[in-house]
Amino acid sequence: MSIPLLEICNLKVDIPLPNGMLHPVRRVDLELNRGETLAIVGESGCGKSLTALATMGLLPRSARPTVGRHVFDGMDLGTATDRQWRRLRGNRVSMIFQDPMTALDPCYTIGNQMCEILRQHRRISRRGARARSRDLLRRVGIPSPEDRLKQYPHQLSGGLRQRVVIAMALLCEPDLIIADEPTTALDVTIQAQILRLLKDLQEEMGVGLIIITHDLGVVAGIADRIMVMYGGEVVERGDCDQILSAPLHPYTEGLLQSLPRPGETRPGDDLGYIPGIVPRQTGLLDGCGFAGRCPYVMPVCTEAAVPMRDVAMSGDAPHEMRCVLEADATKRDPEKWKRLAEETE
């Protein structure tokens, strides 16, 4: 067993508000190996983006993170200074944001922005930096890269801009890339191309990739492992294929049921859904955060915090969930979803 590239234990983020403390991320553990793709999945407000920002040391100033252990490639980042972070970000750890228009500076040419990163982190001549930038633009499939270096972000289409952002993330040959909804702002045809590109580059360079998304189709396309988050906590974690074909946590089950699945659901069928809304994370909840929307809820669910437990069958890939139910979805009564929906309406 090799040492993981990134290891985070017991991450917690608190944000003080005028009327109390918000706890958007709680008890999050995360582990990533080299060359592996981890998808963090969840709906808005589940804490997935804050988890990623905490990994990069980019949390907003108002946030107060605490972490049990935060180790990146043998370096302890729990106590890293701003200076240490700056040396790391853009160099060994880089990030791809959702909206390429806001990730790029509209006042500088693509070439300027790319060379700046290289000159910051490497001892490299202007000419060398420019040549390397050009190579990377070519590598991410941008036609006539020499011309693009002289252009400003507004002169490029959305798909090209996102390719530029990916090329920038790769400039210093990072060990870890975090991509926050990298294709949400793009058209479906471009989405497929960008995902393919990310996957190819990752296989070729062996970087660790964390992709944050709410789109389970994207997850199925490129992830090795999934971490499903709900209400600031990890509720299920394990092998991608295994979770998609046999989800165990009721929340994951509900999410997958609510998608129209051509070939499986017929046009016009009623789709399943998760009744209720995501609760706000003010005040620490006793018990399971999903209890209020769960069709299988039991008295024990609201009494005490539910620990993460191992539910992998012997010989299978690791699989954990934060739920007291038996780890066999076939023994559950699917009618319970409908009954809960009727009750809430």
Binding site: I190, A192, I222, D241, P262, T265, G268
Partner: protein, 325 residues
């Protein structure tokens, strides 16, 4: 044949772009669109950003005028209706319920607005009607006097749907009705639209980039590329047997949430062209895997496959394509 509610014939729309620092140029957002929507039917409209689908919906709402061609509702040209009449005939549900509702109007005032502006019925009648429609879109009674800020995304979208339906429009336009919502809420709105379609027989134009949504709701679908409809037909037929290579690429680009699927290879070359400077001939040919140098340099005529299914391509596909493969 059921009654045709909406008919577009040879509709074009030109915009002049640039002009301050650069040469003024002509952008043709719609290049001869023919479309018919029958009563009670749901037409799915798909295409990438920049293909003209928003221009088309804005034109139906009367925000834009066609540069040439005609749009008819119930056989009458759209231009011959007054503003208020047109608003009664066609209503729209927008993508983002966080910006499409006035934060200072209560839910009941918002829903009643289409009636209030026309002064139809007494205040009491309107109030009764609001309650009735709120119940049928699944808005709980206690939210009637709430403000949008107190509502969740799904509830806001229900308000928007109720507002659009209260005047009983002939055509409902849903422009990406679920893409701003969370996954677990999206399906609730899809179910609601489905039920309204079934029970009320509403006529709907559903614009979405998500083909699984179109597959789920639409009876017929039209695929747009650079201001033209390149394929049109019964949704099930187009999904099973797309004839245009662009439709096939769109179907392949769907990523199903299934294990071991991977990311598809679309075989699409180059980027979406600049609409100011569209390729000559078939607009899709620079990206098309089946293009040849000869015939593709002319615009393909509309060819019909079977009955209602037609496409514009010199080299149509013959093999069935499964969605997401």
């Amino acid at each position: 044949m059921t009654k045709v509610v909406l008919e577009m014939e040879g509709v074009t729309r030109d915009y002049a772009v640039g002009g301050v620092f650069s040469r003024r140029r002509n952008l043709q957002a719609l290049r001869g669109v023919d479309l018919k929507v029958a009563k009670g039917e749901t037409l799915g409209l798909v295409g990438e950003s920049g293909c003209g689908k928003s221009t088309l919906s804005r034109m139906l709402l009367g925000i834009e005028e066609p540069s040439s061609g005609t749009v008819r509702i119930d056989g009458r040209p759209l231009g011959s209706f007054g503003r208020l009449d047109r608003a009664r005939l066609i209503q729209s549900v927008y993508q983002d319920p966080y910006s499409s509702l006035n934060p200072r109007m209560t839910v009941s005032a918002t829903i009643a607005a289409p009636l209030t502006v026309r002064g139809s019925g007494s205040a009491k009648d309107r109030r009764a009607k609001v309650r009735e429609i709120a119940a049928s879109v699944g808005l709980p009674e206690y939210l009637i006097d709430a403000y949008p800020g107190q509502l969740s995304g799904g509830q806001r979208q229900r308000v928007a749907i109720a507002r659009a339906l209260i005047a009983e429009p002939e055509v409902l336009i849903c422009d990406e009705p679920t893409s701003a919502l969370d996954v677990s809420v999206q399906s609730q709105i899809l179910n609601l639209l489905n039920r309204l379609k079934r029970e009320w027989g509403i006529t709907m134009i559903l614009i979405s980039h998500d083909l699984s949504v179109i597959h789920h709701l639409a009876d017929r679908m039209a695929v747009m590329y650079l201001g033209q409809i390149v394929e049109q037909g019964n949704a099930s037929e187009v999904f099973e047997r797309p004839r245009h290579p662009y439709t096939q690429a769109l179907l392949r680009a769907v990523l199903p949430a299934k294990a071991g699927h991977g990311v598809p290879e679309l075989g699409l070359a180059a980027e979406f062209p600049n609409p100011v400077d569209p390729p000559s001939g078939c607009a899709f040919h620079p990206r098309c895997p089946r293009a040849d140098g000869g015939s593709c340099s002319s615009v393909a005529p509309a060819a019909s496959g079977t009955g209602t299914h037609w496409y514009r391509c010199h080299h149509p596909l013959t093999e069935p394509t499964e969605i997401g493969t």
